[in-house]
Amino acid sequence: MDYEVKLEIFEGPLDLLLHLIHKNEVDIFDIPIATIADQYLEYLDIMKALNIEVAGDFLIMASTLIHIKSKMLLPDLKGQDEEEDPRIEITRPLLEYMRFKELAGELAERELLDRDVFVRRLSSYFQAQMEDAEPRLDVNLFQLMDAFKRVMDQRLPGVQLTLRHEKWSVREKTEVIIARLKETGPIFFHELFSEDRSVSEFVVTFLALLELVHLGLIALFQPTQESDIRLVPSFDENGGNRNG
């Protein structure tokens, strides 16, 4: 029987390195690279033996360690004292990593909302109202594509008369859509295309919409299966994603 084990202890190569440094009680500024490199490779072997898939990140670090080890073994051919300690290549990222671990710890110790401190809840009356106003978004990509096809079929039946040859970029369109939503607030899906004149413009508008949804700048709502999809802006005045 095959067992797949996921070893969660070491999230990545830096985590493992840090563990080895602590375990050996060595100075991070003077890492005994041969010892650490050997132990690191032993761990990778154990992981392989345990049938744990060793991520590429671990292997890159392994090769870095071996490279540093070999550099340390070579006599300094140039004879220059100022030559950078090759170990700096791992010391620097380790220090940065440790620093952010420390900062993460500091964040976790703050008085967290809904863990340590609490604010007044919205009254249930309000909550009910808000749920009514924004039915949960249940629009998937396929529903969106269906809606797109419907709009295309309706608005561009048969012969297409293209007078001007305008080429829109998705980026320009996203800006147009954002500007418009800022102006008007939520609109319906079909309204989005009311200005569009050609198939290519339709497509660009649609792609721009997908991009905006992906960026979280627009939320899509569809109260019921049959109703038209509604586009609700979810950016603040600065154009950023609105949260909280």
Binding site: L14, D57, L95, F100, E111, G244
Partner: protein
């Protein structure tokens, strides 16, 4: 009791479900000056601090908000029938990197953490703690990440500038200026100011 400015503001803070900013309050109490409102907020905050009630006024996300004192958390959690919000250490580390290094692209976060952060970014986005600020004009147009207002609210931070100052690590033999001696390097460790509480 007369309707003092402090009482008016107190009422607004009480009825609001989010932190209120002095400028906002000024829009509703247009007869008052902004500096009076700011002063009233500070006075009100001090009053609650000294009153030893179970809640205080906290300055978060650039605004003011009533919040319970932390020692009452277990009872409130019981009442709400919820368990406290938890973030994994991996999420917290990623969040710390974004908070301190924003605006930042995913590649840079992954360089600092040494692992893929795609899944974590997704979680943090879903929790509304980080947001996509745009795209960088680099090959592949990578997304730029930053923290949200909600991040400040959840982590009890006044504004992003008041995050505990991060000591600089770049002195440590960065490619351009690799001059720092070892003793100096040692001093860099553990020197940042304590976190603001």
């Amino acid at each position: 009791m007369g309707k003092s400015l402090e009482s008016l503001i107190e009422a607004l803070l009480f009825a609001s479900d989010r932190p209120l900013v002095a400028r906002e309050i000024n829009a509703w109490l247009s007869g008052e000056t902004l500096s009076d409102i700011k002063q009233a907020l500070i006075d009100l905050k001090t009053q609650y601090d000294t009153m030893e009630r179970s809640f205080v006024i906290k300055e978060v996300a650039q605004g003011y908000q009533f919040r319970t004192r932390s020692e009452y958390a277990p009872y409130i959690l019981q009442m709400l029938k919820t368990s406290p919000t938890r973030l994994s250490s991996a999420s917290l580390e990623t969040l710390a990197i974004i908070a301190y290094k924003q605006p930042i692209i995913r590649q840079e976060i992954e360089r600092l953490r040494g692992v893929d952060v795609g899944g974590i970014l997704k979680t943090l986005l879903e929790k509304g703690l980080i947001r996509i600020m745009g795209r960088k004009s680099l090959p592949g147009r990578p997304l730029i990440y930053g923290t949200t207002r909600k991040f400040l609210e959840v982590f009890d931070i006044k504004d992003i500038e008041s995050l505990p100052k991060m000591k600089e690590i770049k002195e440590l033999g960065s490619d351009e200026e690799q001059t720092a001696s070892k003793s100096e390097e040692h001093q860099l460790e553990g020197s940042g100011p304590p976190p603001e509480t």
